[in-house]
């Protein structure tokens, strides 16, 4: 009987100790504080396609420029302001009009003050074959701050006189296609 109770006690002790003194070694559970992810999000922005005839008014005269503006509340949203660390706006322009163009992008803040601007020069296409031009505008540091305060975007397409002095008519061939997308580098921390 003595050995029995000794045995029971011994085994019980082993169990209890084993359970209580099981441990977690060489770990640091505080590390989770620093959880950071860096997703890169790509999204379409503004697209436009205009035939040559769009640059001719109803009287048959050339329009020197056309423009459009859009109020974007994405760049200055809280999420962007907090998490956006870099952005690239990628413009692809395909021109098959025998006219050179300049595409200008103006970034205005909510007080309508110009924060950032850049322009892209597009060559004319003498034989109306599609010519592709790519422009990547990178927003980092100060530029990025300008982007984050952007409330309104204005696109202006201006015709440039070309060496051949071709004048557009409603029957002129070709079109200009603008595709733009943004690549947004995010840093999101817990």
């Amino acid at each position: 009987m003595k050995t029995q109770s000794f045995f029971i006690k011994y085994i019980s002790l082993l169990f209890v100790l084993g359970t209580c003194f099981s441990c977690i070694k060489d770990t640091d559970f505080e590390q989770y504080d620093t959880l950071i992810i860096y997703p890169i999000v790509e999204a379409n922005l503004v697209n436009a396609q205009e035939p040559a005839a769009s640059f001719v008014d109803s009287s048959g005269a050339e329009l020197p420029s056309i423009s459009d503006q859009v109020i974007f509340d994405v760049f200055n949203s809280d999420f962007s302001v907090d998490n956006l660390i870099k952005a690239e706006l990628v413009f692809g322009i395909t021109n098959s009009i025998n006219k050179a163009f300049q595409i200008k992008m103006d970034f205005y803040d909510s007080a309508d003050a110009l924060q950032h601007t850049f322009s892209i020069d597009i060559d004319n296409s003498p034989t109306n074959t599609p010519l592709f031009t790519e422009h990547i505008e990178v927003f980092e540091n100060m530029n990025l701050l300008a982007l984050k305060s952007t409330h309104k975007l204005e696109i202006t397409i201006t015709m440039i006189s070309n060496p051949t002095s071709v004048v557009l008519t409603p029957d002129s061939e070709g079109s200009i296609l603008l595709v733009s997308k943004g690549v947004f580098y995010l840093k999101i921390s817990s």
């Binding site: 029971i8 790509e42 436009a48 056309i66 859009v70 109020i71």
Partner: protein, 467 residues
């Protein structure tokens, strides 16, 4: 914080597999696993709150050590490695049970016939989630380097529930070969949420001219019941609600357990049980959230007003942004729903050997004529939302003296191939204490363990007269 997390890992639990308790006939709580288990005592009373405490937590695909090892490596790098090495079949599970009270007694219906009635109430929590790998990849990488990749939103599958269960079981030894049992249960769900039937995807497709088409196809549903009390401003009110629901004030359901033990010969035992064949009807405090939307977005079309009158880029953008707002707008309903309980199967085959010999007469010891050893194999299976969870164990059971029994198991399951468990029941007089834990090889460093299971309890046993 460290301890909280430790508790989280330790308490979080996987499989509900109780390979050590199953078939451990000296411990009355085995009747909760198989109502048709063998009973060789007159009755028992579980020490309230202390008669059965069970924790089980498990993860597949990684261990806490993989992420939290103090090895100087970048935490985010480790996290990424783990996330990328896992797939959407990996899961995290947690199960906890606590006996609030339990007791059993035998009823003689005639001289020979005996019924064993057992009853009680326990509280259970269960959390189960698959690893939504595509969500993790999308959150970590974004769509930039993942054009044409379909992110599967159906990978989100999570369920969690806290409930109390009142049960009463009848166990009948038909003859020397057969013992049958059935247990009826009333479930009272305190809180439940599940989102297990999701579908949908997000994909970014490059199209002509360097353009992109973003396609959102969402069909997601989250069902909840009983969680609104969390918004009660007063903690005392919350406790009142909890108390009420614990005692049948929650969403109610019914279920049964079935089981048998068959001994074709004294040396051989075959037993099996099905637990929780039942359902709960969630009708009180129900809130369901539904997201069923489809959206394609390929940019804002700019239409220069000098050229065409009509929609301007601004109009177009307004339309796009309202489409996006609508995309994430969640509908809610209060439609009641029914959920089946996760059904569980246990079955084992075992061989008994080694009777005690009385040295004085070199004959069988009349005081304890039972077999002292038992070896066998045990199968556990459980229905999870998207798969059948299983475990296979080999076990050895040994009686040391009349008051001490030990069982050891080796288990193979989704979590590991090195799971060794040890269980013990010891009695001092009528008071019985048992403790069972698996994954013992990992106890030197629990952080490396992918699952932990622990059960312990105290009972007061009324032994048979002949004992």
């Amino acid at each position: 914080m460290k301890w909280l997390f430790f508790l989280g890992v330790f308490v979080s639990l996987h499989s509900q597999n109780k390979q050590l308790l199953y078939g451990f006939k000296e411990v009355p709580q085995q009747l909760l696993l198989n109502p048709g288990g063998q009973v060789d005592y007159r009755g028992y009373i579980g020490v309230p709150i202390l008669s059965h405490i069970h924790f089980n937590a498990g993860i597949t695909g990684f261990s806490a050590f993989d992420i939290f090892a103090d090895d100087g490596r970048d935490f985010n790098q480790k996290l990424r490695e783990v996330a990328y090495s896992m797939d959407s079949k990996d899961f995290v599970g947690f199960n906890q049970q606590l006996d609030i009270f339990s007791a059993g007694f035998s009823v003689n219906t005639s001289l020979e016939d005996k019924l064993f009635i057992s009853f009680g109430m326990y509280q259970e929590s269960d959390i189960f989630t698959y690893f939504p790998k595509d969500y993790a990849i999308l959150a970590n990488e974004g769509n930039y380097n993942n054009l044409n990749r379909r992110f599967d939103f159906g990978q989100l599958s999570v369920s969690a529930e806290v409930l109390s269960v009142f049960h009463i079981g009848v166990n009948k030894k038909i003859n020397t070969k057969w013992t049958l049992g059935i247990r009826g249960k009333i479930y009272s769900s305190i809180a439940q949420l599940s989102s297990t039937k999701n579908q949908g995807s997000f994909i970014t497709v490059p199209t002509a001219n360097n353009n992109l088409n973003h396609i959102f196809d969402l069909d997601m549903k989250l069902q909840t019941s009983g969680i609104s009390f969390l918004r009660e401003p007063d903690v005392n009110d919350e406790l009142e609600v909890l108390k009420k629901r614990l005692l049948f004030g929650g969403n109610l359901g019914v279920g049964i357990d079935l089981g048998f033990t068959h001994q074709p010969a004294p040396e051989w035992t075959i037993d099996a049980s099905l637990q929780d064949i039942g359902f709960i009807n969630y009708s009180k405090d129900v809130k369901n959230f539904i997201l069923d939307k489809y959206l394609e977005y390929d940019g804002v079309q700019s239409v220069f007003p000098q050229v065409t009158s009509g929609q301007t880029a601004q109009d177009y953008w307004d339309e796009v942004s309202s489409d996006f707002e609508e995309l994430v707008e969640i509908d809610s309903t209060t439609t009641s729903y029914i959920k089946w309980r996760p059904i569980k199967l246990n079955s084992s085959v075992s061989y008994n050997f080694g009777r005690k010999i009385n040295k004085e007469c070199n004959c069988l010891d009349k005081l304890d004529p039972t077999f002292q050893n038992r070896v066998g194999a045990h199968l556990f299976a459980m229905k999870r939302p998207n798969h059948l969870q299983w475990a296979l164990s080999l076990f050895y059971f040994r009686k040391f003296y009349k008051n001490l029994q030990i069982k050891t198991t080796y288990t193979v399951d989704a979590f590991s191939f090195t799971n060794v468990g040890l269980g013990m029941s010891a009695a001092l007089g009528p008071v019985q204490f048992y403790i069972m834990a698996d994954n013992l090889l990992e106890y030197q460093n629990l952080a490396k363990s992918q699952s932990v299971s622990l059960q312990l309890g105290f009972n007061y046993i009324f032994k048979n007269n002949e004992n």
